[in-house]
Amino acid sequence: MGKFILNLVVISLLASCGAGSGKGLNNEGLPITSSSARNNSNASTSSSSVAIAVSLAQLQQNIFGAICIRCHVGSTAPHGLRLDSEDNSYAFLVNHPSEEIPTLMRVNPGHPDDSYIVQKLEGSSTIVGSQMPLDGPPYLNEEQINMVRDWIANGAPRAGSGTGNTKITRVTAQKSGDEFNASIHFSRAIQFATLTENTVKVYSTNNSRLINIDPVGMLLNDQTLHIKLHDLAADTQKISIDINQIGAQAVLDNEGREIDGDNNDVEGGGYHYEYKN
């Protein structure tokens, strides 16, 4: 019996020699020549290649098939959620009630904030159980989560990048001293020329007085608009950002459509954000 145990140990040791070279494989560890086995026809090879819009194929290759598949595979996938192919990812995610909070869909097309998968990936305080992926930290980074958010915001299409309206899927902001930085992420690339003082308005509230800040420093990086303010007054209580408000000119995406600022699934509408000190 001792010999059996020794053999078991030796097998384990030998098996732990090293990782594979990855030669001829894609991000998912699948042969590039047979990538069609998992329907990767539209997948890019880099998570940074998302300048226009995210497809399910990209998510499959970069997130579901590369990270989530460690557990969510086969007939014993946790909570019955299989993410081991594009077909399965779509079938078990889109308009599929979550197991842990059945009133929420895992993916609610057009509504990333109301999609349980986003809450699980971001570790929202409302989730049941652990943040995903289970072997985190680290968890998915902001760019990876934005890919999921963008895909859902664009209607969670089965193929291609979808026909849903372009939306604002995430805003992050920080004030440090007299500086303020905000990043506003759109679900598709937008036309920089349409980002003007008329379509993007920034106000500060000082001693209950509303002050229009103009000009505003803006930089568009792919799908993310960065806004930077300097020399803010010490008594700044609140900073507001209005985009695409009624009566103003419209922000257009790269296909010339107005963004859906109020997230009502109808083209057009204003977006409002407030940062409070």
């Binding site: 140990v9 384990s12 732990s16 990782a19 990855g22 998992r38 007939s75 197991e99 049941v128 652990s130």
Partner: protein, 373 residues
Amino acid sequence: MNIKINLFLLRFFLLSAFCICAQVFAEPYLAFKNNLQCVACHVNPIGGGERNTFGAYYGSQVLPEKAGSLAILDAGNESETFRIGADFRANYFQRNRDSQAAPSDNESDSKTFAAQSGQLYMVLQPKDSPISLYIDEQIAPGSALNRETFILTKLGESDYVKAGRIMLPYGIRLEDDTAFVRQASGVNFDNSDSGVELGLRNAKTFYNFAVTNGTSAQANDDNHFQFLARGEYMGENWRVGASTIYNDAAAGSRSMVNVFGGINWQGYILLAQVDRIRDKSIVNVPETFATQTVSLLEVNKEIMKGYNVKLTTEYWDPDNNIQENQRTRHSILLEYTPFANLQFRVGLRKGDDIPQNNNGNYIDFFTQLHFYY
């Protein structure tokens, strides 16, 4: 005087139990080290969760560098019909990416504090009844998650039947859910399943048989079930076992089999497990079903009282039909238990994956504070 006599009797009883008890522990290396089964320390016969009186004694008097008070060591034993317990783990974690394997600047290094998990356990047992209700509720992070709730019925001295939401007794029940053998099999603390389990124990052997939904969800998603069988034999200072799971899902079956073993060799506690997993619903290479091979080797050594050094090496081939896709993970950590109910862990872990998968190439540094009750 009476107190002194009572303490003496309690100590005598517990030490006697330690020496003669041929059943169970839950941090698996401790069970292997002491040549006991999991039920020696835990209420749940397959280990983990609520500790029994001897488990409380071991955690208070044997494991720590400085023993706790004998008078309150089993404070979770509220009455002869009600027992509570808890675990909480808080982590600091730092990941450094392999810069050569992950040149992309979007894969940045990370640091974080995290409340890894907190559990509350409750056991209700009517007086003189062979039936008890066991509840294991995860209370952090996030909203509450029921990990296990089952009715345990004892059949004689040591056999039992469980029914309800249960964790499956598959292979070695490691605490680390991120271990490859836990991830690949899907049998971990995050994924319990609904069904029934039969356990047959004696001094040297432990057999488990279970039928569950196989979905780890609230209900089954087809009219097929999952079947499990596990057997373990204990020698003088070693043990071997094997387990298998067959999930006859409508979407395509999954079969898993593993062999595991361990030995206490001159104070070095070796644990090993090798798994093979076959999915008949996954075809990565035409005309073949995906077959995974996963292994774990763990070595523990108590370097002085309260200090344990743990080395692990792991291997994962996610599809044997594909070449050069293997992953490995190697860890070294120190577990220090200064006094009862508290343990510090500090460790380094190196993960190696194919260069294309940035997430799998890293060096981690982590510390953990573990409260157990």
